[in-house]
Point group: D2
Chain length 438, copies 4
């Protein structure tokens, strides 16, 4: 690997950019970035300039030697890159608003990663990421693609199975869970062994001073969790602690979408009836952030960004790049190829788990067999994911319906098609393949 | 096996009894039944006498040598039996009415085999059947238990895993599917190879004149199916034929509960709002049947019984008993031990599939691997079933909740517990173990 | 299937032919063969005429309407055939003599099916059978290929995996085992459930009068076996009965090659030192048979043929053809696609097991899991077989060496290559692919 | 874990002891050992004193604070230990001489780990190690057992499956392979990913500067290997490089026992005929070493110890103890629980693979699926190992024979029992269970 790195951030006009720039500045000694290219599409040019200029001011203030390039010419940016990060959102927040509102209008969750919304987002995002991967095969075939576009598990699996580009997916959920356990233990030297899939991940072991103390800590962990929202965008609906303890594993906040589906649905339907959805809240937060970013005197990441949700995402990406570049062999939680780690899933399925990071990639840790019940749950969701990936690539309508049949947050029957057709129409500008089907 | 058989029918006071008696009369030459014991519980004594006397008149008319015994002393009946059939309903139709009405009152399906109702029925039935199996271990350890009490798959699996009694489960769904294909082909010499679980079974191959013609026949099969209700108690909601064809297998009518869940739910909620559920319809049909049975001049199965639903059930049981007794090695569709037939399920799971019937039991036919998607669906439902069996035996509340978490016809969240608690209260007379928990 | 059948026997000039002809004559009412084509290669023309004329006399004597055609034009014969049987031996008995003598001269077993000899026979036979299958794809794509050319398991697997022709493999070993159990029980109405691979097959269950009596019968079966040679061509070396009983299954006579390898090797080396091998014995028996066949007054299968070894092979082929043609659904032991029946083997591996015979083919019976140890043994041998098939098709030298590395009857090291090179040279006329490599 | 450690070395009177003592001295800053107990049996008292006094001189010279205790009272030593290492040899070198000579006298390899000798060593060693583990359960239940008694894989698996003691097994083979690759690359920053079983392990990936370069390096690795003996006690017989390259993995030197079995056997038989076996060579080396150790002026590990074979073993043990104690999370090659890492082996089988070392134990790295052929080989050897462990614990004669049936270095047939009986007799003082059987 070269001694002076070229890093490319696709979706560089995002409001998150100051976080990743801050991350690179902090780690400048261990990751010698010479060039940081922020890339966006034409429609995002204005935002790219605003946030890009903030980035330049941040670098200048830090007094380090890192060139910031702002461009809408993706190929120019990708040429000879060492690392490419993605934080893109096809169709922007307006698409997310549709993903949420249309299903809610028919009485089901939109939810931008796990529900009907996540399914639509996958259909829009996977072809775009695969296009990027194809360009990378030409322009920077050895570069790493660090994906944090959602749905991260499906996007990463699509790149791994349908391109030759090395790709690792990231999520901030395990980081948040780890931080909350650290707070509880008052220590950092422990190991949470994570296993599962993106947004359906558990901590199965908590190793501390040579012992696995997860079972004894689980009641305290659940107690603590109910006192504060672990992740910004999940409702802190309290669940039946005895039931969770009986599963023997620490669930992630997103497990609520499955175990407490009806309660979340009722709350969201109520918000919806009052004209308020998560996407719309986010959109107004974003608008305010860009107002702040325009301030020529601002030369650091503003505190308000933390309210945006998704905290630690960019920080984690920087840590991962550093771990790869330095061949550090530390353990991080990433989305990687299964390789038998979970026996019920195919070898080439992407899972989310604790892995050793090396310069040659992430190697997952083996783990004692998951309970049958958990393997069954994961197989069901992975079946949904794989059918969704297939639908995103082929544009086949029946494959899409079969995918939806396996999503437990979706209503099944004639209504599935009604909502799907409405969403295809609403997103037709971003779903080329599907338009051709009409 | 002895040359003159003793057969015991538990739940002998059922309205179905004339069908099984007719079946034994028809096959008298190949199954030499010397004694037929109809057993019921004290509360069913009156019905037992009515239908039992009809049975006696039927046998007398047939002029054959088969003694009908009517008793509420189960142990006396079981002593030295060769075959025991079960057609019992713990809590009678009133329990079914509660199973259906309580979930519907909270906006979800009751459904007496697949939904919340089926779950509750399993909790009530499994302990009773296991008591019978324990008595059989003492009184007739080599007898066959032919189960057609629903949920047939779970009940059969419970007996196979938790007693030493040989047990085969039956369902009339595959028979109905076979008859409807026979009608379409205008032939009998074909082989439908069935695979799946009770009430979630597919025909995967249709062998006819040396070829598998399922793919070419599937459109015609679906066409025909939409013209008539294949099974009495399933609403003939039409499904998306293209979608079904894309699965490559012939589904059973019960697949509608999953693929068309929302549509069935809406219809049932409407009926419920008008005060009409399936159980109540059945109850009034039954009352009329018993009026007919009282007629001292009636000496054959009345035509009206066919309207009851469940046609062919008893006929199939007679065929199975004949096949075992004569070691006929014919192929029948039964609920048997998996033994690797479906790779994603445990060896000791009970599946519903085509099997060769021998005097030593049913040996399933191997089959080419099911599509990954189907294996995933079966694993999910089997996980529900195995947790339900465990809950039925242990009476553990959290295990019950975990079972319900895996049932796709149930709403998940606080509502699950609310409905479960209401049902536990409603059925408390039939749920000893659970009462102890209070 | 047509009402008047055309059957083709490839290798029709074999000394076995009178047996298969007798078999067809006996079953003429249920298998209406209009034409029987005996095909051989040019070098076999004289023998074909001798045995073919005997066949004509047999048919004439029987007074039935079956035309016997003798030809060396294989394509003419295959046109529109319904069943094709193979009893060919590439390189004739002289090749077998080399297969046995060359390895023995280096101190290891030749053995024409399991050892180095079987490996070489597979290399010679598989390309020829695949050529036949390719011709069948053109000339009679729906015909059945009934293979009894050895090594039967590998040949059948090669056809199933590398052609579109329907193929079932046969072996007389299970028939002999069944006959010997029938003798012991004094009964025919039992079911031996066989599982394993060709020449490495066990009976795992012996169902009799509704019970599995294998464990109690095993000592008696082993006692009886040691009194007589079960199969002509296996030395009746007595084995440690306690050891066999501890495996819980009834082994086939060929298991001796593994469990008693050293003893058989010592005996064969002794015979070899006295200039006598099995192949040479067989060659002189064959010469005498053909002298008998020439007798114009002979019009039936001569008794002397039974001494040849391989008894019941042809009879079994006739039974199989009848079972397919009549869709009889009886249970026979055949070489078929695994389809998960043995969990440790690939789905498309060919195994030898009890199967239901239908007009659409053989469907194996499921069976409770084999002991881990047996699964391990089968995987090792199947690994040998699959590498051998690959070598036979590709002609790759290292693949061949890797195959031999997994054969437990072969010595491993430099000697493997020495013997292999010597055999390649000896058989160069029948190993086109390999000659090209030189 | 306590801040001042108590370490116990069982078999402390071994000639290896100076190496482990040197190792502890070198790492004294990171592993604060307060007490080092060297334990031996009564027969080993003299040697224990000789080598123990050398150890005391070494510690004194190093000027560190570590108390050396010499004892034959094992329980006193184990009380409250933190780490226990085993380097014992039941029956001493005389037993090994018998393990080698008796099989060779019947024309087969003795080989003290893989062949008949290894099998006998397992029968002697496993009961002794399990006794130690039972004592540890009482006296130091949280201590780590670091096993380097051979056959290391089987001994480790026996402890893991049949005691509650945490146990990790070690072998110097992977260390030697790693050192030889380091020499070739002229670098240390690479990762050899090992997978397999003890003495049947491969390097499957060689990660270097972000790429897997194993395939391109394999020819060079094999070239280098043939120039020098990688492991002292394996004959450097050259193998067919093309054949090895076709397997796609870097084999360990012990693979020669399988791939070049016949060549090694011939060489050993020749040595044997000249009265010279490996064990006898080692015995004379040992005698010389103890002469050296007696020298009161010697206060460091003598250079001559390196000729003994087994170099780096003790060094590796020290590294492992350090990694556990410091929770270093570095990657080492150890014998650990499989946990699905190799799909064809049971979860609780012990495998040898690259693992992350934590204070809570070794967590193996997942790896892309092994080739089918390698999985088959491992399953065969593991079947041998598991039957051997079962035999060692139960003393069942037929289980022992079944184990031997799966060892490819053993001749199969009557000879197996002859040799086994001779070895049982020769070792009867160390095989209590088996004597009872007589």
């Amino acid at each position: 690997m070269s001694k002076s790195l070229k890093v490319v951030t696709i979706g560089g006009g995002s409001s998150y950019t100051p976080e990743i720039v801050e991350g690179f500045i902090k780690r400048h000694k261990s990751i010698p970035i010479k060039e940081l290219w922020l890339v966006d599409i034409e429609e995002g040019y204005e935002k790219l300039m605003i946030v890009g200029n903030l980035a330049k001011r941040m670098v200048k203030k830090a007094g380090i030697n890192m060139d910031i390039h702002l461009t809408i010419n993706r190929k120019e940016a990708l040429k000879d890159a060492d690392f490419v990060t993605t934080q893109l959102r096809v169709g922007l927040l307006d698409a997310r608003i549709k993903d949420e509102r249309i299903p809610l209008s028919h009485g089901m969750l939109g939810q931008e990663t796990n529900g009907f919304g996540g399914f639509m987002k996958a259909l829009r995002t996977i072809p775009v990421i695969l296009d990027i991967a194809k360009e990378m095969e030409q322009l920077c075939p050895n570069a790493w693609l660090i994906n944090f576009s959602n749905p991260s598990g499906m996007v990463t699996e699509a790149v791994q199975r349908f391109s030759r580009i090395k790709c690792i997916g990231l999520c901030n959920v395990p980081i948040n869970m780890t931080k909350s356990v650290a707070e509880l233990l008052g220590h950092e030297q422990f190991l949470l062994h994570f296993i599962g899939m993106n947004h359906y991940v558990w901590a199965k072991h908590l190793y501390y001073d040579g012992k696995d103390i997860l079972q004894e800590m689980l009641p305290k962990i659940l107690e603590q969790e109910s006192e504060r929202a672990v992740v910004k965008n999940i409702r802190p609906i309290s669940w039946n602690k005895d039931f969770i303890i009986s599963t023997g594993m620490m669930p992630c906040p997103y497990h609520r979408y499955y175990y407490m589906h009806d309660d979340i649905l009722q709350e969201e339907l109520e918000d919806f009836s009052r004209g308020k959805t998560r996407a719309e809240t986010v959109k107004s937060v974003e608008a305010k952030l860009f107002e702040l970013y325009k301030d020529m005197n601002l030369d650091k990441k503003p505190k308000e960004l933390e309210e945006r949700g998704g905290a630690y995402y960019s920080d984690t990406a920087c840590d991962l790049i550093k771990a790869i570049y330095t061949d550090s062999r530390e353990i991080m939680v990433v989305n990687v190829r299964n390789n038998n780690t979970i026996a019920s899933l195919p070898d080439d399925a992407v899972i989310e788990t604790s892995a050793v990071i090396t310069r040659a990639g992430a190697i997952p840790l083996s783990i004692s067999s998951l309970p049958d019940v958990a393997q069954s749950e994961l197989l069901q969701l992975k079946t949904f994911e794989r059918l969704t990936i297939e639908a995103a690539i082929t544009g086949d309508y029946n494959t899409a319906l079969r995918a939806l049949t396996h999503n437990p947050l979706v209503k099944h029957g004639k209504i599935t098609q009604i909502v799907f057709d409405e969403l295809l129409e609403a997103h037709k500008d971003y779903l080329d393949k599907w338009n051709k089907l009409d």
